[in-house]
Amino acid sequence: MKTVIETKKLSKWYGNVLGLSDVSLQIEAGITGILGPNGAGKSTFLKLITGQIKPNIGSCTIEGQKIRNNYHFYSKIGFCPEQDSFYEEMTGWQFMTGLLKLHHYSPSEIKAMTKEALEIVELTEDKDRVIKSYSRGMRQRLKFAQAIAHKPEIIVFDEPLNGLDPLGRRKIIRLIKSYEEEGKTILVSSHVLPEIEAMTKQIILIHQGKVFAQGDIHYIRDLIDTHPHIVSIKCRNPRQLASTFIQEDYVLNIHFGSADNTLLIETNNRDKFFSLLPSLFVKYNIEVDEITSPDDNLQAVFDYLVEK
């Protein structure tokens, strides 16, 4: 497959703060997920490849061309920013048509494109309301609409599912996947693994400004699955529960928590652990108050990968 986006030793720092360090990547057409905890450098990476900021070291090209200040190229790019910012006193329709004007389309084309984009994100009925009266989900959908309205070949979404309800998320995920079928190049960033997993298998893991891994999500999943997980169980009889788990080979450690009736179990096979858990509760008649996974988040996974 042809490389669409290429970065070489891309580095960016803000004063003494490192934004991105020595990132060399080749991204092909299709959906690529950029995964990393908050503050990892995902937005910096997306801003660098769309030419919004300039790198301190290294370079970035799209289809072999430098992008920064190469403004003609922006007709091919759609960008959905992370920040929830708008020209608040405009209506949704005015916002969309105003931005499409900057693409030098004719008034009839602008009207048709705006209509289509607003229909896609289901904002047609609210198009004449001022943006400041929009809900968070509507604002997120409007941001999405302005990125896709001009039918770009390369679309960059920075945390596109933030603030959306489950139904809205599913719809946006379906839309993003449909753009892949059209042969477009799509970059989606998120700090939530299942969100990215639902869209693509190709992911780039970024943490503390560095790329930790790039490739098929199964590889990353394997890394994550071998990561020992701690599960906290609050129940009436933690000692009895501990005695049942101590024999299991997938349980590495058991501790009693500082809070009353809390058991902390460390497992290296989370799936097996959770599949057997309900039957053990039933078998030993254990009443459970709460089950939580204190380290079941991306940050914990990254901490584990860093140590590894």
């Binding site: 803000y14 769309t50 030419g51 919004q52 900021i53 300039k54 200040n69 403004y71 003609h72 190229f73 922006y74 007709s75 790019i77 759609g78 960008f79 920013p81 920040q83 910012s85 708008f86 020209y87 006193e89 405009m90 005015q94 105003g98 931005l99 004007k101 900057l102 693409h103 030098h104 302005q146």
Partner: protein, 270 residues
Amino acid sequence: MNKITVRRLLFLWNSIRKVYSFFFFMGKKSNKTKIFFIVALLPVIMALIIKLNPIFSGRSSTEGIYIFSNVIIVFYLQALILLLALFFGTSVCSEEVEGKTLTYLTTRPVSKSAIILGKYAAYTSLVILMTGIGVTISFLILNVNKLHDFSLYEILIRDVIVLSLGIMCYTALFTFVGTFLKKSILFGFVFGFGWENVIQYFPGSTQRFSIVHYLKSLLPVPKTGRFSFLMFKLEPSTPVAAVFMLFLITGIFLGLACLFFSLKDYIFED
């Protein structure tokens, strides 16, 4: 000029027009414009008070055109256009950065120079419009008994042109300041109400380092009268030199603003 240069210039011109229409439309609707429009109309209230005062006090009234030429114009020239240019000029860039909306503009097929020039033109037009309306209404109130004297309208037109040149020049300066300074408003106040208001009264060529010197050079110098102090120590440049300097200053600051805006990274604060 070869064909590529002509095509680039045409594209730049078209881009400026698109950015202009976007921000002129948005500017008209913004709350900021509404507030400053009210501020721009304050001299109208002043003109009303001046006009009505002789009726209630029984004193003889001063010539309307005399008051208009001195008080209103100098009030506009030395305070109001500075204030409007400061708030609109600095916001050309800073409101995009502070409002985090810059991304929507810089990821479009328009050059960064077109963004600056288009938005500058939109805001300058709005300020000229606001000021023009205020000046015209003030003129009509102060000269209500002489509206048939068409020679007076020449003064109105001249003054509106001078104020427009001032707005054009100051807005360009503050647009430039807004592209690289975070506290551009503070700088603007120090420059506008400090430097400009002091340096213009320096004798010799020093006063030529202020913009207001060139604006005053385009206005008649009252030798006597209550308001002659406003033109104190003015050693005017020729009208041609004054207009040339105003356009030159505008061009330089807009050029610098485009350069800074194209080169600088704007980082949004959380």
